[in-house]
């Protein structure tokens, strides 16, 4: 019985020894083993036309591989082929965990924005470690008799240099090639292909805002048609339009309407055209000429159409003179000089400066002031507003110009869009205030909505 009781303790001891030896065999090599990257994932970079390529990401432990030199990302076509470097000749830094492979994108088709179909690739991330330095080869020790000096092991000492002699340059001696780095490859990723995307997810906030605003616009128009007509505050500059036209008629002098130097694609120029339509109607009724020097030929054509229509609407198509709307030049200051010349020679009693203006704004406004005309200006260029404020009798600032067509025509759908703008502004103000407050609590909900980096 005593013999049976001793057998379990021997087994236990033997097991512990085997376990310890096994652990040493496992742990000790691992302490000196090179680690590979893991979890290599490859995917198409989103929100592009395919030109940005494929994004490769991987995991790597932050400790235990301090001698890591860097990474090389390799790729091969998914249907077979050799692995080739995708990340360039220079290894990626050890801290990198991702790489954007633009080479995976399809080639662009010359002369177009299209791309050739791209190929699916499989990726491998190669970790580079420095090779251990070569061990010095030990020479067999010579048999030494007692008392004899032992020659030191190593290369023979260089002969002492003669005075004046140039010592041989170290660089002249051939350098041994450094041993190649140790390469440890990860497992292959799943195939991935660079493709063009049909929707840019980063622009979702803009899409939401656009849909909301457009929906608001259309809803308010429907409500206005059902009887809820919005009210607009008084805009002195637009109230004065009729007064200015009346003054011109009384004095028997023409009106000068300057539609700015913007193109027809500019919102301010379109607003200027709207106001011109109203001015042309009123002036046509009173028999006062309206001279319109244009800087853009397409604007000139549209202004002529607007003027013609205005005179037709008041029943006096024969009174319209197309030569009153004319092209001057597309050079900014030549245009300003020409308009100044018209002001000084013809001395209009009312001058409208509506649309896009740049540095010539003060030249025009001051000259108009010097001839004693009543001046009504309007621009969306806020850098020019101070000049108009200083030199003109009335100035429409920013969106007052855009509201002009609604204001003058009292058209219900147009008035509704002004209301929609105001609601949009109110919503923006609330969003700004709430967003700033939330930022103090590090909550990015509102800030995310306005992040322009997302939309790139």
């Amino acid at each position: 019985m005593r013999e049976r009781a001793g057998r379990p303790s021997v087994h236990r001891t033997l097991g512990a020894v085997v376990a310890a030896i096994t652990a040493c065999l496992l742990v000790l090599p691992a302490a000196y083993a090179q680690v590979a990257a893991t979890d290599v994932q490859a995917s198409d970079i989103p929100n592009d036309d395919g030109s940005r390529g494929v994004q490769v990401t991987w995991q790597f432990p932050t400790t235990g591989a301090e001698d890591l030199k860097g990474f090389v990302v390799l790729r091969r076509p998914a249907d077979g082929g050799e692995l080739k470097p995708a990340s360039g000749a220079k290894p990626l830094a050890p801290k990198e965990r991702s790489f954007a492979d633009k080479g995976a994108a399809g080639a662009s088709v010359k002369g177009t924005s299209l791309r050739e179909p791209s190929v699916p690739y499989v990726y491998v991330v190669r970790a580079l470690y420095p090779a251990p330095p070569p061990e010095p080869v030990a020479e067999p020790s010579p048999e030494v008799a007692d008392g004899e000096a032992v020659a030191p092991i190593g290369p023979p000492a260089a002969a002492p240099a003669e005075p004046g002699a140039t010592p041989p340059a170290a660089a002249d001696a051939p350098q041994p090639e450094p041993p190649p780095d140790i390469q440890v490859d990860s497992s292959e990723s799943a195939p991935a292909k660079a493709t063009g995307n049909w929707y840019h997810t980063g622009r979702t906030p803009v899409l939401l805002a656009t849909i909301l605003f457009a929906g608001l616009l259309l809803t308010l128009i429907q409500l206005a048609k059902a009887g809820k007509t919005p009210k607009i505050r008084r805009i002195p500059g637009l109230e004065a339009v009729d007064e200015a036209i009346g003054r011109a008629t009384e004095m028997g002098r023409p009106i000068l309407y300057v539609p700015g130097i913007g193109g027809v694609g500019s919102i301010a120029t379109m607003s200027a055209m709207n106001i011109y339509g109203h001015v042309a109607k009123k002036a046509g009724e009173l028999g006062t000429a309206v001279r319109v020097p244009c800087r853009d030929a397409i604007v000139m054509q549209v202004m002529r159409t607007v003027g013609e229509q205005a005179y037709t609407d008041i029943g006096r198509p024969d009174a319209y003179r197309s030569e009153d709307v004319f092209f001057v030049t597309d050079s900014q200051f030549a245009y300003a000089a020409a308009v100044d010349g018209i002001m000084v020679r013809e001395k209009p009693s009312a001058i409208f400066l509506q649309g896009v203006f740049y540095a010539e704004s003060l030249i025009l406004a001051e000259t108009g002031n010097s001839v004693g005309a009543i001046q009504i200006a309007g621009t969306d260029r806020d850098s020019q507003v101070p000049f108009f404020l200083a030199a003109c009798d009335y100035t429409l600032i920013g969106e007052e110009l855009f509201a002009a067509s609604a204001y003058l025509s009292h058209d219900i759908p147009l008035l509704s869009t002004i209301r929609a703008q105001d609601i949009g502004k109110a919503a923006l103000m609330i969003a700004l205030i709430v967003g700033v407050v939330l930022q103090f609590a590090h909550i990015d909900a509102i800030a995310w909505f306005f992040d322009t980096d997302l939309a790139r």
Binding site: D49, L114, F213, M270, D313, F327, A390, I418
Partner: protein, 313 residues
């Protein structure tokens, strides 16, 4: 139909380009590229319309001898001369404004070209002076050529004799590579370049003069408008003065001497006004103008705004 078709085109294209912005696919980018190309093409046609209008208006004034008709003659003369010179010089000389001397034939050793110099050894250059701005053109068999600009005036007599050996410093050969195996060379003197002369001596001074008038007008506008009529006007006046003084180096210098404990105050005050209240105001106006632009764009796309068709709102 006269208004329906344009409205339909406006609606379709407006919504299409709106959707295009959200679609990064290459087909969408190709659509964007083609629409941009059309915009450029249509824009150029506008020039034809404009010039036609200009000629019609001014010839009518000259014919009828209306008031100030001589100015119309000046306009038409300017148009014809400038455009005419531009066309003639543009087609006649690829290197506009240059006239060529007789080409000197190349023989072995006739010229030696390096990165920064060319040495010409030929009887044809005996006593010749190469002026700064001349071009030395080496002609290749088959019709090609390469040029370099002479950067310093040099004469055959500079080396003490007129032996037909001239070494000229030149700006650069094409892609930095000196020519070899040329079959001939020519020295090209820049001739009259009337078009650029018109630009340099008419257009530039006139344009600059018109802009410089602003200096006078700003002063007169400041004299008339910057009056402390009420609180807002006074604030405007004070802000303007602070910004102007913050940009005036003598004032900053004197301030630094008088109040050395706060030498940066004028610049700091100017920067604060620009970076705080000015910035806030600019952003507010930009937001308002932005929303107004979006609303106006929707009005045009949905056909609510039809003024551009001549039909009013």
């Amino acid at each position: 139909m006269r208004t329906t078709l344009p409205l339909a085109i406006c609606l379709v294209m407006g919504l299409l380009m709106l959707v295009q912005w959200f679609v990064p696919h290459p087909l969408s980018m190709e659509l964007f590229r083609r629409v941009n190309d059309w915009m450029l093409t249509i824009g150029v046609f506008a020039l034809v319309l404009g010039i036609g209008s200009l000629i019609m208006v001014h010839t009518r004034r000259v014919r009828r001898q209306t008031a100030n008709w001589p100015y119309s003659v000046v306009v038409l003369l300017g148009l014809v001369v400038t455009a005419g010179v531009g066309f003639v010089e543009g087609f006649a000389h690829p290197l506009r404004g240059l006239e060529t001397t007789q080409a000197l034939p190349y023989e072995e050793g006739t010229y030696t070209a390096k990165a920064g110099t060319i040495t010409i050894r030929d009887a044809g250059v005996k006593g010749v002076t190469l002026e700064k701005g001349d071009r030395v053109r080496v002609l290749y068999e088959g019709g090609g050529h390469t040029d370099a600009l002479v950067t310093t005036t040099v004469s055959d007599a500079d080396d003490g004799n007129t032996d037909g050996v001239v070494t000229a410093a030149i700006a650069a050969w094409r892609q930095g590579v000196p020519p070899e195996n040329g079959t001939a060379f020519a020295v090209i003197h820049p001739g009259a370049d009337v078009f650029n002369w018109i630009y340099e001596y008419f257009y530039v001074p006139l344009d600059s003069t018109m802009f410089s008038i602003l200096a006078f007008f700003i002063a007169s506008a400041a004299f008339r408008a910057f009056r402390a009529r009420n609180l807002e006007a006074t604030l405007l006046l004070l802000s303007a003065c602070i910004i102007i003084l913050g940009l005036t180096t003598p004032f900053i210098y004197v301030w630094g001497k008088v109040l050395p404990m706060i030498p940066e105050a004028p610049t700091a005050a100017k920067d604060w006004i620009l970076e705080v209240p000015n910035l806030a105001m600019r952003r507010a106006i930009m937001l308002g103008v932005g929303l107004g632009s979006v609303a106006q764009a929707f009005r045009i796309i949905f056909g609510i705004e039809r003024t551009y068709l001549g039909g009013g709102g």
